[in-house]
């Protein structure tokens, strides 16, 4: 009978999930409880994991608990270490979960909660989790090869090279846009600036502690670090309350941008043990802690979603970023639904840790479901704000004007209501002078989180502490990606550069280290700086570029996955990866096309440049530019953005054509379907021999 019971339970979960999804999609008018969103997500995850992940594991890869994994065969006590599956799960999740799933859904809330919710829930089940899982399996069967190596060996050298250059391009755009999110969160906020600034010496202290005082005591050092973070939080409040000190630490966007660049450079050239590693530990603990706390907070508070299911901005006139709901909702939310970057991790550290092949569904598919859940929580936190507040925080200054009155007026013209007094009071409550035009998603998410946390603990009196706690958490997250990314980018640049000039590639020769770090920081720093001074808010142009680039990498990963499946002689199951691939190609191409050629200057890079040119021709200066030179620079940046978007689109085309060619050869019988997997080796000596 337990079999029947289990079937009934799964049927109940499916019905519950379907009901919740239908309620989300169909209910209009009054606000709806976040519980529906949670139920829809969790039920879909459970069913997808139970059915789809198992299907892929059994039918495509035939995962076998008796097959030796790379960790077992190549165990070296360093990279290859057989590890308990829950520990690998935690490690993998901590590595894939970054600021992406927090920021994307927050920005996409401008369309209402429905597009984001559906894309996150359905996209992860059919796309993101499949990608991570398939790449993980492919890599485990190939001694933990990286995505780049697999692209080269499975598809061809052109695809391999394109993947390599694309990764470098993605890192540049990713770091720039994340830097911009931090800058916008800390702009004219002495409290935030001091708290985040203090995390650097805290990390360095931890580094010194781990190197000389108590070597290897990572948990001890992390506990001290977390305690010091709380001190930093209160130190920030103390500084903000002192008029002289507060003025000293009230920084504008450009100064903050320079500071972020100096930080990235320092992280790239300083020894890893001093800054990067301790920061990473600290960030991992804070990350896991906050994700758990947010889940508990949302479950306890179950806030109603104030945002409508769909807003009028699905037509592309939204103030947060330009573009219609298709394709831009799918570009704005990358991490949380499908994120190509994960393929680098699923083919990096993780495959070298797997104890059993059969752990792969939990880690690859399940880990991505967890990240998707984080994205759902971010969406809830953003949609729990009243739409008026949401748009007042997320719309650029050019749309809102500089005062609470002008902002309230602008919000009213969009059909939402918020009073100037409300905006002022909210800013005071969270301990800031103003929350207007804090674009980038981090501040509005922090306000949403502060609402939820204060609901559970501390009441509205604790809003300011919770807000800055959330800002600290997001900035810690982001800077950890930024510093590690800068260092990795520096290495990749050195690796490419050594073909031109050999000494440039020497990774421990200081002139080369300094030069390559400076070049890489300059590359992302340029985009960051341009974003900071952009009158449209910067996020408007940079976030879609990041989304396109991340989806491009996902397309590469799915091409590799499809090729692997076809070469295993399982072409009939290729739609598992072909379906999300086709969708990604459609959205990256249509979004890229719109960013390039749209006649709307808010959307199209070229149209924007033409608009500036037309104004300059009349002898006037365009909005946001104070000199002729600045206007010319804005035009140059538009052309640069357009070139980057075109490059990403071209990369997609190259990879897809190269892969399709390979599939045709194999499917058409002109090339034998030979898998490059490492041959089967049984775990137990007897199992393979006897029968």
């Amino acid at each position: 009978m337990p079999k029947l019971l289990r079937a009934l339970a799964w049927a109940a979960i499916s019905v519950l999930g379907a009901t919740a999804l239908a309620t989300l999609a169909l209910r209009r008018g009054e606000s709806i409880s976040a519980a529906w969103l949670l139920v829809a997500a969790i039920c879909t995850y459970l069913v997808a994991y139970r059915l789809y992940a198992r299907f892929i594991a059994a039918r495509i890869f035939a995962l076998d608990p008796n097959r030796r994994t790379p960790a077992e065969r190549l165990g070296d006590g360093r990279d290859f270490v057989p590890t308990n599956r829950w520990i690998v799960f935690g490690h993998h999740f901590a590595a894939i979960a970054g600021p992406g799933p927090l920021v994307g859904p927050t920005l996409a809330a401008q369309f209402g909660y429905l597009p984001g919710a559906l894309w996150i829930i359905i996209g992860v089940a059919l796309g993101g989790a499949v990608q991570d899982f398939v790449v993980l399996c492919a890599s485990v069967r190939r001694d933990g090869k990286t995505l780049g190596q697999m692209a080269k060996e499975e598809i061809g050298p052109v695809a391999g090279f394109t993947a390599l250059v694309a990764v470098l391009g993605i890192m540049i755009v990713l770091i720039a846009v994340l830097g911009l999110v931090v800058v916008n969160a800390l702009r004219s906020s002495p409290w935030g600036t001091v708290t985040i600034g203090l995390t650097v010496p805290i990390a360095m202290f931890m580094g010194v502690y781990l190197r000389w005082l108590r070597p290897g005591r990572v948990l001890e050092a992390s506990a001290i670090g977390v305690a010091l973070l709380v001190v930093a939080l209160y130190a920030g409040r103390w500084v903000a309350a002192d008029p002289v000190l507060a003025a000293m630490f009230t920084l504008g966007g450009t100064s903050l941008a320079w500071l972020v660049m100096v930080y990235g450079f320092a992280a790239s050239v300083l020894p890893v043990w001093l800054l990067l590693a301790p920061r990473d530990y600290l960030s991992a603990f804070v990350k896991i802690g906050v994700v758990v706390a947010l889940a508990v907070g949302i479950l306890v508070a179950l806030p109603p979603l104030q945002m409508p299911a769909l807003t009028r901005f699905t037509d592309g006139t939204g103030p947060v970023f330009a573009g219609k709901v298709f394709p831009f909702a799918f570009i704005t939310i990358a991490c949380g639904a499908i994120s190509g970057f994960h393929a680098l991790i699923a083919s990096g550290t993780t495959p070298k840790l797997l104890e059993r092949e059969t752990d792969a569904p939990l880690i690859g598919y399940g880990g991505m479901l967890m990240e998707s859940f984080v994205a759902i929580m971010a969406l809830i936190a953003a949609c729990a704000l009243t739409p008026g507040v949401f748009f007042a925080i997320n719309a650029p200054a050019s749309a809102l004007g500089g005062t609470v009155e002008s902002a309230a007026h602008a919000v009213a013209t969009w059909g939402f209501t918020v009073s100037p007094a409300e905006l002022q009071q909210l800013a005071r409550q969270v301990g800031e002078t103003s929350l207007l035009s804090r674009t980038g998603g981090a501040p509005s998410l922090a306000v949403g989180m502060a609402h939820i946390f204060a609901n559970v603990l501390g009441g509205s009196g604790a809003m300011a502490i919770w807000y800055h706690f959330a800002i600290m958490f997001e900035a810690l997250f982001i800077l950890t990606t930024l510093d590690a990314g800068t260092r990795v980018g520096r290495f990749m640049l050195q690796d490419l550069g050594r073909h031109v000039w050999e000494p440039f590639g020497r990774v421990s020769w200081y002139p080369a280290v300094l030069l390559s770090s400076a070049i890489f920081v300059a590359m992302w720093g340029h985009f960051l700086y341009q974003g900071v001074i952009d009158p449209l808010g910067g996020i408007n142009s940079l976030w879609p570029l990041f989304g396109i680039s991340n989806q491009l990498l996902a397309a590469v990963a799915l091409c590799v996955g499809t090729t692997v499946i076809v070469k295993m002689g399982k072409a009939r199951y290729a739609p598992v990866t072909l379906l999300p691939l086709a969708w990604l190609v459609v959205i990256t191409m249509s979004a890229g096309w719109a960013k390039l050629w749209s006649p709307d200057p808010r959307l199209g890079f070229l149209a924007h440049a033409r608009g500036i040119g037309a104004v300059l021709d009349t002898g006037a200066l365009p909005a946001g530019a104070s000199t002729m030179l600045a206007a010319r620079r804005m035009m140059f940046n538009d052309y640069l953005d357009a070139a980057v978007a075109a490059f990403f689109m071209l990369s997609v085309v190259v990879i897809v054509i190269a892969s399709a060619h390979e599939w045709m050869l194999v499917v058409g019988g002109r090339k034998p379907a030979v898998s490059t997997e490492v041959p089967f080796e049984p775990r137990t000596a007897t199992a393979g021999v006897g029968d």
């Binding site: 270490v81 490690h91 590595a95 970054g98 043990w273 590693a277 896991i288 970057f341």
Partner: protein, 71 residues
């Protein structure tokens, strides 16, 4: 260096140690104990790196390739 305990570890101590080890591995800290045990078991006679050198190599390596940290 860890000081050896004077008496056999109790159940709760063992559990605490295991939890701490799990946490260290989740955050990706260099696992010197495991490495040293591996070297003793599989490559006796080979030079074993010092804790400091091992930690430095692991960390340098971790931040030299994409795939350590995501967006």
């Amino acid at each position: 260096m860890r000081s050896p305990r004077a008496h056999a570890p109790r159940a709760w101590q063992r559990r605490l140690d295991a939890a701490a080890a799990a946490l260290r591995r989740i955050i990706g800290a260099p696992d010197y104990e495991h490495y040293a045990a591996h070297m003793r078991a599989c490559h006796p006679g080979q030079q074993v790196l010092s804790r400091d050198e091992f930690a430095r190599q692991r960390l340098e390596d971790r931040y030299a390739r994409p795939g350590a940290r995501c967006c």
